[in-house]
């Protein structure tokens, strides 16, 4: 009896603790510009490398290929194409969600990159790779300078 394994420490007298490993993340120079444009103007900014002809979304400060500094910012249309998606029925902690959530990688038109975001206003069964979608912005004043300033993407 004494060797019965107890696999759940909460079944006997125990102590619950919280690991306070907080962190603060800053977006950096380019990220800051990207989020400010999103918050204040409702715009998506990308950076462009002339030499390699790559448009970075989200914007990067340096080109992946030539390591050159990118100073050319351009506004891109907040729409794109679903390149990949998944439907999730659980939240981050494994609890069931009231409504399934569609997460997609959306290649933004006119760029070589894209954003991972939620897709709404669509029946999950009619989702397809290649579906054209556009961003639905949060109203100005409620925007905080985060990717959630885009509420979700919806089919065009």
């Amino acid at each position: 009896m004494s060797f019965d394994k107890i696999r759940d420490p909460r079944k006997i007298r125990h102590q619950i603790g919280d690991m306070e490993c907080d962190y603060v993340y800053t977006a950096g120079i380019t990220g800051e510009r990207f989020y400010l444009a999103l918050r204040d103007e409702g715009k998506l900014l990308a950076t462009h490398c002339e030499k390699c002809n790559i448009t970075f979304m989200p914007p990067r400060m340096y080109c992946d290929l030539c390591f050159g500094e990118l100073t050319e910012y351009k506004e891109v249309h907040p729409r794109g194409v679903i390149e990949s998606y998944t439907i999730t029925y659980e939240n981050r902690d494994g609890k069931p969600l009231a409504e399934p959530l569609v997460l997609a990688f959306i290649k933004i038109d006119g760029t070589d990159g894209g954003l991972i975001h939620t897709v709404n206003e669509i029946q999950p069964q009619s989702l397809k790779i290649g579906t054209k979608v556009e961003a639905v912005f949060e109203v100005k004043g409620k925007r905080k300078g985060a990717l959630t300033d885009i509420k979700h993407f919806k089919p065009v």
Partner: protein, 168 residues
Amino acid sequence: MSKNMKTLPGTPLSGKELKSDKVITFNWRPNAKYAWSAGIAYGRFLDELKEGRIIGRRCRRCERTIVPPRMFCEQCFVATDEWVYVKDTGTINTFSLSYLDADANRIKEPIIVAVIDLDGASPGIGILHKLGNVDPKKIDVGMKVKAVWKPPEEREGAVTDILFWEPL
């Protein structure tokens, strides 16, 4: 630096500025919880303290009664065999008068800590606890003491459910 870069770009930020609105920040605390369990033996020991009892484990091989209880006898390398209650009286094995509190502040009235060999447990087996209601000058090794318990409704299953030990 490189051919294209002469100075480092960027903005140094102080801890204060990080907490201000100067830059956009993302704050996060991972949901990292832990549950630390007292184990089978010590968990039962604490549960029994809540009921005002002290429990130990007996090893039939070396015939020792071990308090606080352990599920394994470290002398015989075998599982211990049975639960046994011991008394809440005992004998002072050793003691110390401390004129410093837990934060190392000097104090007038000493905190008296003692190892108390419990009646019913094997010789030399007991618990470390505090003494009270006693003149520090009159404490001696070999003195008989008895536990002073918290009222039942205040007990929470911790060694502090015994307030202190006083001379019998």
